[in-house]
Amino acid sequence: MKEEIGILEGRQSQVFEKKSGGTEQQDISCEKTSLSGSVSQRACVFCGSRVVLYPVADALHLVHGPIGCAAYTWDIRGAVSSGPELHRLSFSTDLREMDVIYGGEKKLYHSLIELIEKYEPKAAFIYSTCIIGLIGDDIDAVCKKVSKETGIPVLPVHSEGFKGTKKDGYKAACTSLMKLVGTGSTEGISPYSINILGEFNLAGEAWIIREYYEEMGIEVVSTMTGDGRVDAVRRAHGATLNVVQCSGSMTTLAKEMEEKYGIPYMRVSYFGIEDMSKSLYDVAKHFDDRPDIMEAAKKIVSREVAKLYPELQKFKKVLAGKKAAIYVGGAFKTFSLIKALRSIGMSVVLAGSQTGNKDDYERLREMCDEGTIIVDDSNPVELSKFVLEKEADLLIGGVKERPIAYKLGIGFCDHNHERKIPLAGFIGMYNFAKEVYQSVMSPVWQFAPRKGGKI
């Protein structure tokens, strides 16, 4: 017996289907904490901070709290480094019952002193977890003291899990980064220079992007935080433009840098041909006193597109008419994915994100076809309902979404932090199309009950 799956009462305003006309449609509600008991795909404040700062490879990342938070984030992402790899280790003060009763400041202090001596990091980030917000450890004071004794920046990250949503964690991370920015020398930095914010160098994506900009004659002062280095962050205020890729996580920092250092910022995306090209052109336009930069950008785009286009046609031929569902962390990525999927002939039947805002969802509504479901902070039950109802052939998401797709006999593309294949840049578009092709067109689905296989 097939039963109807409903949407929980407290969540109905976070889901809507794009219908024809569309003038009288309700506003989507978003940017609120997840409904209790709804099995949100989101994590917590700590997670938000941890993902933003994680790729800073020469910093010590110490999680202050019981062991879980550090254990579950040990070497969790595909953020690669060209040098030091301190970020791939997991450090925890591992608070036990007695520490919870008597306070964890001493343990934090000794941990820091010992770890800094052993690993010689360029800076240390101290993440407070839920319990720190309760027992009231003064981590700011400990950080200050240790910084004074060791001579390196020791930065508290106020990321108590329950104090908001993942977005508040992004903010806390940006606050810590902002303390580093402006503490290094800007000598010798070109006036034609940028920082790339919200690019985490998953599978080396930051390197691909950096190469394009450098080929255009632009100096990349820092990438934040992909393949991140403390010294690069410290001198980031010497750049003349900030380009923000994962805007949900890093716009705060861009705004603060604009306010404090007068550095303008622009939102970019490196996914798909259209947005990737635009990201190069927009930067070139910013430096309009140097027409050679635009020339170089055009050269890169035409060279890369000429290589890529015929390859994509092969995928498009077989993928045309297939339907995709997208559920990712940030809404900005969904815009690019919709365009990228269209360029290989696929339509989008579901577009959702964990942390989108009103503007994001409004823009999604404009972009999407009729009948597309748009959803904020969804959960496995809803996602399953939608992919089945809309007969999706592909789900794009992260680790937690993957088994939903596979159980139901649907192809899957991992577009989250754990991916090992670069999906950004022109080459990334090729990889993306190839991955989609490999999953959607696999002969294994013939055995899936949805496609007529035996249960």
Partner: protein, 451 residues
């Protein structure tokens, strides 16, 4: 240079609530529910999914600042209501976290309030509550706490003792669970195995969406556990006061047969002998055959592995059992290490291996992977045996790693690995021998095609 060590570096254990969620996944029609921050549920889901490759929905009461100040009652009740509506579970497996434990939420009282407020004629799921603060113990403690809580909540004293056994098999793979069930069936012994996530965490494809994956121990079977004639419980360091079988013995007089995980011939023999005793049936020929093949394999493979040196790590019970197995095939476990710290590991290993000290077998509990790696640099073992989190040190120090237990995040099919009984031992033995052979073959300049 020797460094002082306060912080835990690359932990060799996980937190208490993870184990509880895993155990709850082995109860039929049960949704695990964490009373704490959203992140706990999400991180644990992600961690479990990466091993089992199955949907694992864990609900959360999703604490916010008000909850932390004024208590979690409101959020918990709303969450229970929503989960009930969305999943229609028979059972909700509720585990606490460091957050709810520290603010001192009285969960039993909240549950009583909830039941009062929402009693409206429609059947309400059974609530099983396990106390699992992350600042105590490790994931294995949460696992046992959840199993014990399930039994304490559901089991009742029957009118008369039935010819059934309860089997509490510890944190083992879905494949191991299936094998145990097959053995019990072959003995014709009616049983209640808890938790049974053999299907929920390693199941088939779905034609339509299932809110809760099919499979698991039915709550009615758990209810009958009080009238079973005996319980079998695996786990050398698992004490009766913390275990499900311990509860059943104390509350209903169900005899607790406690033994280590049956890995290796000797330990498996003890398990099969117990089944003979409880069932009154001889060991089925099929398993005698498995044993014969295993003894034969030991003979065929013994020279490849004799006096190889291994470091074995993981949950204490797994380490104790693996250590005894390694000794019986001639491998020296130069270090037996665990992130857990029951205080019993050394004693339990010493019971199985009396010549521990002469053999220079080191035993360390409460360690992390940096400790183990420091030991590995000195001990220079031939093999590492444990979960996939040892890969970092394996790669760095060029020591091959045999992946067993949980988690296995960097190989395929961890949920289908066998460890227990003659069949599991056979699989482990074959894999160990092959690992040694492969090393030798790769290292040889000749490239022998017969090994």
């Amino acid at each position: 240079m020797k460094h002082a060590k306060t912080a835990t570096q690359n932990a060799c254990r996980l937190c208490n609530p993870l184990g509880a969620c895993l155990a709850f996944r082995g109860i039929e029609n049960c949704v695990p529910f964490l009373h704490g921050s959203q992140g706990c549920a999400t991180y644990i889901r992600r961690y479990l999914i990466s091993h089992y490759k199955e949907p694992i929905d864990i609900a959360s009461s999703n604490f916010n600042e008000e909850t932390a100040v004024f208590g979690g009652s409101h959020n918990l009740q709303l969450g229970l209501k929503n989960v009930t509506q969305q999943y229609k579970p028979e059972v909700i497996g509720l585990a606490t976290t460091c957050l709810s434990e520290t603010i001192g939420d009285d969960v039993p009282m909240i549950l009583r309030e909830y039941k009062k407020a929402f009693r409206n004629g429609s059947p309400m799921p059974v609530m099983i509550h396990a106390s699992t603060p992350s600042y105590q113990g490790s994931h294995i403690d949460g696992f046992h706490a959840a199993v014990r809580a399930a039994v304490a909540t559901l089991a009742v004293e029957g009118v008369e003792k039935q010819h059934t056994v309860n089997i509490f098999a510890n944190m083992i793979s879905p494949a191991d669970i299936r094998y145990l069930k097959e053995i019990l069936d072959a003995f014709g012994l009616p049983y209640m195995l808890l938790p049974d996530y053999s299907k929920t965490l390693d199941g088939g494809p779905w034609g339509e969406y299932h809110r809760i994956p099919p499979g698991g121990t039915p709550s009615s079977a758990i209810a009958a556990a009080g009238s079973a004639s005996a319980s079998i419980e695996f786990g050398a360091t698992l004490e009766a006061s913390k275990s499900a079988a311990g509860h059943l013995e104390a509350a209903f007089g169900v005899t607790r047969h406690h033994m280590g995980l049956p890995i290796g011939i000797k330990a498996s023999d003890r398990f099969f002998a117990l089944l003979e005793e409880l069932s009154g049936q001889p060991v089925p020929e099929k398993y005698e055959d498995e044993r014969r093949r295993l003894v034969d394999a030991y003979a065929d493979g013994h020279k490849y592995i004799f006096e190889k040196r291994a470091i074995v790590y993981g949950e204490e019970d797994l380490v104790v059992a693996m250590t005894a197995f390694l000794r019986e095939i001639g491998i020296t476990p130069v270090l037996c290490a665990s992130g857990g710290k029951s205080g019993l590991m050394r004693k339990k290993i010493a019971e199985l291996i009396p010549d521990l000290d002469e053999e220079e077998i080191k035993i360390r509990d409460g360690v992390d992977f940096v400790d183990i790696e420091d030991e590995a640099k000195v001990l220079k073992p031939d093999l590492l045996i444990g979960n996939s989190k040892g890969y970092t040190m394996s790669r760095k120090n060029n020591i091959p790693l045999l992946r067993i237990g949980f988690p296995i995040h960097d190989r395929f099919g961890g949920q289908r690995l066998h460890h227990l009984g003659y069949r599991g031992t056979q699989e482990l033995f074959d894999r160990i021998v092959n690992m040694v052979i492969e090393e030798r073959q790769n290292a040889s300049s000749i490239g022998y095609t017969y090994m």
